[in-house]
Point group: C2
Chain length 450, copies 2
């Protein structure tokens, strides 16, 4: 295992109107701004004021969850991040995009464009899309099987990285006098022909400031961990206990080391910080949010996570174990299924109690307390080696991010755990990761296109 870095990394996971499923009913939240670009621009500026490494948007290709009691219908992340890039200068910009329902040429091109537009701040959270609702929007009746999705993802990433490398950094000569704009020898076809994709290339975007966007991954199933170990530079994960987090980090790091990638990927567990001036104030906010939960919505979410219909089972009874599937029977988010089922068993929670616990962060760790207590929670996991940083998931936005930036970040800075100023300009520099050199592919570009 590599020596933990001296400073931790912080990513702000943004979502209207915050991560608690009742946030939209809280007076501090702004659910009416779900399609308002200035809402997200202001949040990004807050993250930048706090010197955070990056902001991040999750994504899905269908309406999420039940419509009645849940904010949905927001903006597509890559388009949104380009508009955010225009009003920020340092904070990294990470978009989720699916390898199952996209073509590598399109995504490689969009991330290269965002990387140019942002001056080297683009990151890609690679997902394989877990729901049949998404498949139904892309010409399929049934969802593609989990393992096949990951096989496609690996080939997708191979094509994308070769496209990003298809222009040498020195390809543009720009000699007005002699009439040479680009050196055709420095722009090459990739000639990819695999089971999922046939892509000739080259990309039609010049090589971008970072070369490749930062590659992020968030699935924690067996397939997901293996993908992360082989390809990811940072991993978003959901862990409830320090023991689980240590086990996960050790597992992924050992797998990565076996692939010759010691020190990678950076492990960033999610945390929902419920911040109060006193611990009692934080607990009161937590209770207030629990009281605002719409129980039918929570039951639907829990049913989806567990891949069973829990309607009709007593809310104050425990989970009906006999109807639960096993992880290998789940074709969606396998790791989230296991996390929730284990949590319920370990703490012998009723259905109602599970809904309350999951409301805070959909399975992510929730910590309620003072800024010092939140900083303690981060420092403990960081020093224990369970995390290289954290995926910060404010329960309510914008207030939860303001509180984190104004009160927790200064505390982390006082402890010497977090930067007080950006030292680099690109997202890769923030995370201490190198810029990939362009690896040229053969054959060279056919003469007809020169």
């Amino acid at each position: 295992m590599s020596t933990p870095p001296r400073r931790l990394h912080l990513n702000a996971f943004l979502m209207t109107p915050g991560h608690h499923d009742a946030a939209w009913r809280h007076p501090d939240s702004q659910p009416h701004r779900a399609t308002d670009v200035t809402y997200f621009q202001q949040l990004a500026q807050t993250a930048e004021r706090g010197k955070l490494d990056s902001i991040f948007f999750a994504d899905g290709l269908a309406v999420w969850g039940r419509l009645r009691s849940n904010v949905s219908g927001g903006l597509e992340p890559l388009t949104l991040l380009a508009a955010i890039a225009a009003v920020t200068s340092r904070v990294g910009l990470i978009a989720t995009a699916s390898t199952t329902f996209n073509e590598p040429f399109h995504l490689a091109r969009k991330f290269a464009s965002l990387d140019h537009i942002s001056g080297g701040r683009a990151g890609w959270n690679i997902v394989t899309s877990g729901s049949v609702n998404e498949a139904n929007n892309f010409n399929l009746e049934e969802h593609i099987e989990h393992r096949v999705r990951y096989e496609r993802a690996a080939e997708f990433l191979e094509v994308a990285t070769r496209l990003w490398d298809s222009w040498g950094d020195d390809a543009v000569v720009l000699d007005k006098a002699s009439g040479v704009y680009a050196d055709p020898e420095r722009v090459r076809e990739i000639g990819h022909a695999g089971p999922f994709f046939q892509v000739r290339g080259p990309l039609n975007v010049q090589r971008s400031p970072q070369g490749w966007p930062l590659l992020v991954q968030a699935g924690s199933s067996e397939d997901g961990k293996e993908f992360a170990a082989r390809h990811a530079e940072a991993v978003f994960t959901a862990q409830q206990t320090l023991d689980d987090a240590l086990e996960f980090a050790g597992d992924v790091r050992a797998r990565a080391a076996a692939h010759g990638r010691a020190g990678l990927p950076l492990i960033l567990p999610g945390i929902v910080p419920v911040i109060g001036a006193t611990e009692a104030e934080a607990r009161a906010l937590e209770d207030q949010l629990t009281e605002l939960q719409v129980i039918d919505y929570g039951l639907g979410q829990l049913s989806a996570m567990l891949d069973v219909d829990l309607a009709g089972y007593p809310l104050d009874g425990q989970l009906p174990e006999h109807i639960l599937p096993t992880e290998d029977q789940v074709n969606g988010n396998k790791s989230r299924f296991t996390l929730v089922a284990d949590l319920a068993r370990r703490e012998r929670l009723t259905i109602r109690q599970i809904i309350a616990r999951l409301g805070g962060g959909r399975g992510h760790r929730v910590v309620a307390g003072t800024p010092e207590q939140i900083a303690d929670a981060l420092e403990t996991w960081f020093r224990a080696g369970a995390a290289d940083g954290f995926n910060i998931m404010p329960p309510i936005l914008p207030t939860g991010l303001d509180a984190f930036v104004d009160h927790v970040v200064p505390e982390l800075q006082r402890r010497g755990l977090f930067r007080t100023e950006y030292t680099g300009t690109t997202l890769r520099e923030h995370y201490g990761l190198p810029r990939p050199a362009a690896q040229f592919s053969e054959p060279v570009l056919a003469s007809a296109s020169r």
Copy 2:
């Protein structure tokens, strides 16, 4: 034919480093800024200063033309326009996107997002992608046949418009007290199942300010004109003479009227204004650009337009007619083929002369003169009914757009032909077009997703 509108419309067609194929070698051009977002943001701000209706980016899904002597490798238009939206407030933002190599859910979502981000300024130039180089980047060895591409385009547009209509304008209730965010009866599946696409919906973006982006089309083949007549609200076209332009406009308007769309689409011929303080100065600039042309590049472009290899034929001889295909044999841009072949025959041009003529605007009309002469050229076509406005294609950027905005626009305003201030905020308002009402589709959203 409808009465011509009182005021003409102006779109700025932006392209690094201008529309003349030798622009990049001219001292005034800035080809080093091909991936610099501020270059395009500044051009958009210039267009907005001139009260232009819109800016527009063409697009292709492969490296365009020959690499050696041509600026290529720029930014993806939708991503770029989101970054431009952030620094402008009125000018319309039109992106080209292909129906042949995209999925309707993705594009509908991106345009809806751009429309939200820009406050109702998104437009879509619908193209079917004419080159085999593009097919080769999307798993195909051969290109899809012209007519099939247009059949797919029609179904694509049907799916996209139904997705844009899948959220009623009043779907978001947002009652924090009762816990109702959206009315599930006002968000509906589209249940589309056709030969090309199966899409369940609804879209995962709330209905946008314009409802639908402005729908633009640019192909002038038989299939293209029929598509424009049925679906387009504005048409970009290339016409060399007033007679041809009148015939084209009359043809498209008559076809549209036959489909019950009298007064649509708006016809916007391209024009390359080479502007000088005197006519002699304008001619000198034109000559200077012709002298900077790279003849090999021009020959390659001409060969591509005509779908034959002209290498080896005498530059000072006429086109070798016996090797030219007929329009029905061309599977790329059919209308551009015919325009170029007709131009060469009509004026008995040598290959060298054709290259010089096409260098200015790839087949678009080039007018060199004073601001008054440019205004005359626009006014004549506008008053004759050959145009509802123009697609302005500056030969060199940024200087050519500055000259147009600073000298031609005021002249048009003096003549009462162009607005002196924006009267609306959306792109549809600029073009005098209505906002489509949401047409709900059956069946309603399945209860499982509510």
